[in-house]
C-alpha cells in the first residue's frame, strides 16, 4: 500500500538498518486483545474503553504525551499495577486467548509469560550470569549445561554476548548503561516469554546505546510479540510495525506504522506527530 501523503519532514531519516515495511495484511493472528479495558487509580479513571488487538511476532509502539496512559496500559498487560494498592483494571485483556484479568490467573505465572523491561536499567546485585539465570532458576528444573546454554542464547539474542562473554562473573552493575539495559532484555527473554513489554527502554541511554537496543529489538521481532512505550516518535517510526497514539487515557488511533506516520486518520494524531502539540 502506497502512502497517500508525504511523510512529515522530521521523519525522513536515514536508517542504519533495514526496516520491514509492515502493512495490516502482513500481520498474523492477534496475540493480545483488549475489550472495553478501563483502568482506575483510586477513583481516577486513567484508561477509557481501550479496544485493540496486537499481532504476534511484531513490534507495537505506543506514543502520546506524558500522562496519556501509555505506561499504564503496558502495566496492565502483566498486571504490574497489582503490586500497588488502590489500582484496578476492568474489562477483558486476552493474551493467547486467556483473560489475564480474571481472578483465577496466577500473577507470578502471568509475569513469567509476559516479560518486562523498564526505563532505567535494573541489573540485580549479582553476576551477569546470575542476572540472566534469575528467571530460569525461579521456575527451577534447569541446571548445569542447559542453564549455561539458555543464558548464552538469551545474551546472544539481546546482542550483548560478544561484548561480555568474558565478563559473565562480573557484577551486573559494573556494566555500562547501555549494556545494563541489554542485560535486562536478556534477563527478560531468557525465560522465553510470549510477550515482551518495554517501557521507554532507551529513555535513559545515549544515542549509540539506543541504536544497539533498536537493532536488538529488530532481531527479537522474529520471535516475540513486543509492545513498547516511547516518547521518541522517530524511534516508533524506525522500530515498530504498528503504532498506537494515546491521548487522555484513550486510544485515539492504532495502525501499521508506515500508514500511521504518513497518513494518520485522526486529526489529533496528525497534530501530535507533526509537533503541533504534546
Amino acid at each position: 500500500m502506497m502512502p497517500s501523503a508525504k511523510p512529515p519532514k522530521h521523519l525522513k531519516l536515514r536508517l542504519p538498518y533495514p526496516v520491514a515495511a509492515a502493512t495490516s495484511q502482513d500481520l498474523g493472528p492477534p496475540k493480545i486483545e483488549t475489550r472495553a479495558l478501563d483502568f482506575f487509580y483510586g477513583d481516577v479513571r486513567s484508561l477509557h474503553d481501550i479496544n485493540m488487538s496486537l499481532a504476534d511476532r511484531s513490534i507495537t509502539a505506543f506514543i502520546g504525551p506524558s500522562g496519556c496512559g501509555k505506561s499504564t496500559l503496558l502495566r496492565v498487560l502483566n498486571r504490574m499495577y497489582a503490586l500497588y494498592p488502590r489500582q484496578r483494571a476492568a474489562g477483558e485483556v486476552l493474551i493467547g486467548g486467556r483473560d489475564i484479568l480474571s481472578a483465577s490467573v496466577d500473577v507470578a505465572e502471568l509475569r513469567y509469560r509476559v516479560g518486562m523491561v523498564f526505563q532505567k536499567p535494573t541489573p540485580f546485585p549479582m553476576s551477569v550470569f546470575d542476572n540472566v539465570a534469575f528467571g530460569l532458576r525461579l521456575v527451577g528444573g534447569i541446571h548445569g549445561a542447559e542453564l549455561k546454554m539458555r543464558v548464552e542464547s538469551a545474551l546472544r539474542d539481546a546482542a550483548i554476548w560478544e561484548e561480555i562473554k568474558d565478563k559473565l562473573h562480573a557484577d551486573g552493575r559494573s556494566l555500562s548503561g547501555g549494556q545494563q539495559q541489554r542485560l535486562c532484555i536478556a534477563r527478560a527473554i531468557a525465560v522465553q516469554p510470549e510477550v515482551l513489554l518495554l517501557d521507554e527502554p532507551t529513555a535513559a541511554l545515549d544515542p549509540i546505546s539506543t541504536l544497539r537496543i533498536e537493532e536488538t529489538l529488530q532481531a527479537l521481532r522474529e520471535k516475540y510479540c513486543i509492545v513498547m512505550v516511547t516518547h521518541n516518535l522517530q524511534q516508533a517510526a524506525r522500530v515498530s510495525n504498528v503504532t498506537g497514539f494515546m491521548f487522555m487515557g484513550e486510544l485515539v488511533e492504532i495502525g501499521p506504522s508506515n500508514e500511521f506516520f504518513t497518513s494518520p486518520k485522526s486529526r489529533k494524531t496528525d497534530d501530535y506527530i507533526t509537533g503541533r502539540f504534546g
Binding site: Q119, V139, R173
Partner: protein, 284 residues
C-alpha cells in the same frame, strides 16, 4: 550608614565562638583518649589475655571477663539480629504504610533512646526473678533488646534505599515478594545491613547497666550460660572503684580494650557504608 564593619565584626565573632566550642569539644575527647592511653597502656601485658581476674593483691588478667563479654555480645546479636532484620523487612517491604507499622516505628524510636538501665531492670523482672539467679543468658537477652532497635532501623533504611525498579523487575520475572526480598533486596542492601549489625555490636559491647542486674559478674572462669558470668564493663566498674592499685590498673587496661574495639567497629561500619555509597555511584 555603612553597616559593613558591623557585619564583618559579627561574622568574625561568630567564627571565633564556634571555633572555641569545637576546640573545647575536641580537647575533652583528646583528654579522655590521652588519660585512657597513658593509664591503659601501662597495664597492657599478655597476662590480660591469659589469666583470670585476680583477688586483691595478686597478679591476674581479664581473660574470663573478655570471654564473658564476647560470649554475651555474640549471643545477644544472634538473638537480636533475626528479629531486627525481619522486623525491618516487614516495615520496609510489607507493611509500609499500615497503622501497625507506624506504631512499631514509634515504639522502636522510644526503645532506641531508652536508658539501658531500664532495659536491665526489665530483663531482671521478667527473666532473672523467674530463674531465681543471675545468668549469662539473661545478660545476652538484655543486650539483644538493646541491639534490636538499632538493627531494625538500619535494615528498614537500607532496604528503602534499594531502587524500586529493582523490586519491580524481580516481580516482573514472576518472583514472589519473599523471593525478591531474599534474592534481590538483601544482596542489594547487604553492606548496609552489615553496617547496622556492626553499629549494634558497638552499641552493646560497652554497656554496663543492663548487665549489673542480669549477668552480674564472676570472679572465676565460667562458660555456663545458666550462671553468672564475668564481663568487661562490670569488671571495670568494680575494679575502678576499688582501693587496690592492681585492680585499678586492670580497669584502665580493660577500658582501653573496650574503647579500641568500639573504635575499630565504628570505623569499619563507616568504611563499609562509604564503599556501599561509592559502589552505588559507580552503578549509575
Amino acid at each position: 550608614m555603612n553597616r559593613r564593619p558591623l557585619r564583618k565584626f559579627k561574622n568574625g565573632a561568630f567564627l571565633v565562638l564556634s571555633s572555641i566550642a569545637t576546640l573545647m569539644g575536641l580537647a575533652c575527647l583528646a583528654a579522655i583518649l590521652w588519660t585512657l592511653l597513658s593509664h591503659g597502656l601501662a597495664g597492657m601485658s599478655w597476662h590480660l589475655f591469659t589469666e583470670m581476674t585476680p583477688p586483691p593483691g595478686a597478679q591476674g588478667g581479664l581473660l574470663n571477663a573478655l570471654y564473658g563479654s564476647a560470649a554475651m555480645t555474640v549471643l545477644g546479636i544472634l538473638i537480636g539480629s533475626p528479629i531486627g532484620v525481619l522486623a525491618g523487612t516487614y516495615l520496609a517491604e510489607y507493611g509500609k504504610k499500615s497503622r501497625l507499622s507506624t506504631v512499631i516505628r514509634f515504639i522502636n524510636d522510644v526503645l532506641l533512646s531508652a536508658p539501658s538501665i531500664v532495659i536491665g531492670l526489665f530483663i531482671y523482672e521478667i527473666v532473672v526473678v523467674h530463674m531465681g539467679h543471675f545468668s549469662a543468658i539473661s545478660g545476652a537477652l538484655a543486650l539483644a533488646v538493646l541491639a534490636i532497635p538499632v538493627i531494625l532501623r538500619t535494615t528498614e533504611d537500607m532496604l528503602n534505599l534499594v531502587p524500586v525498579g529493582m523490586k519491580d523487575s524481580s516481580a516482573a520475572l514472576g518472583a514472589y515478594p519473599w523471593r525478591t526480598t531474599l534474592s534481590v533486596l538483601y544482596p542489594a542492601a547487604r553492606s548496609g545491613i552489615v553496617t547496622g549489625l556492626l553499629l549494634a555490636i558497638a552499641r552493646i559491647s560497652g554497656e554496663t547497666a543492663p548487665l549489673l542486674f542480669t549477668a552480674l559478674n564472676n570472679q572465676f572462669w565460667s562458660t555456663d550460660l545458666n550462671a553468672p558470668i564475668a564481663n568487661l564493663p562490670v569488671v571495670i566498674f568494680q575494679f575502678a572503684l576499688s582501693p587496690y592499685k592492681d585492680w585499678q590498673d586492670l580497669a584502665w587496661a580493660g577500658a582501653l580494650i573496650i574503647t579500641v574495639t568500639i573504635l575499630i567497629l565504628s570505623i569499619s561500619a563507616r568504611v563499609l557504608l562509604a564503599l556501599l555509597q561509592s559502589g552505588r555511584g559507580a552503578g549509575r
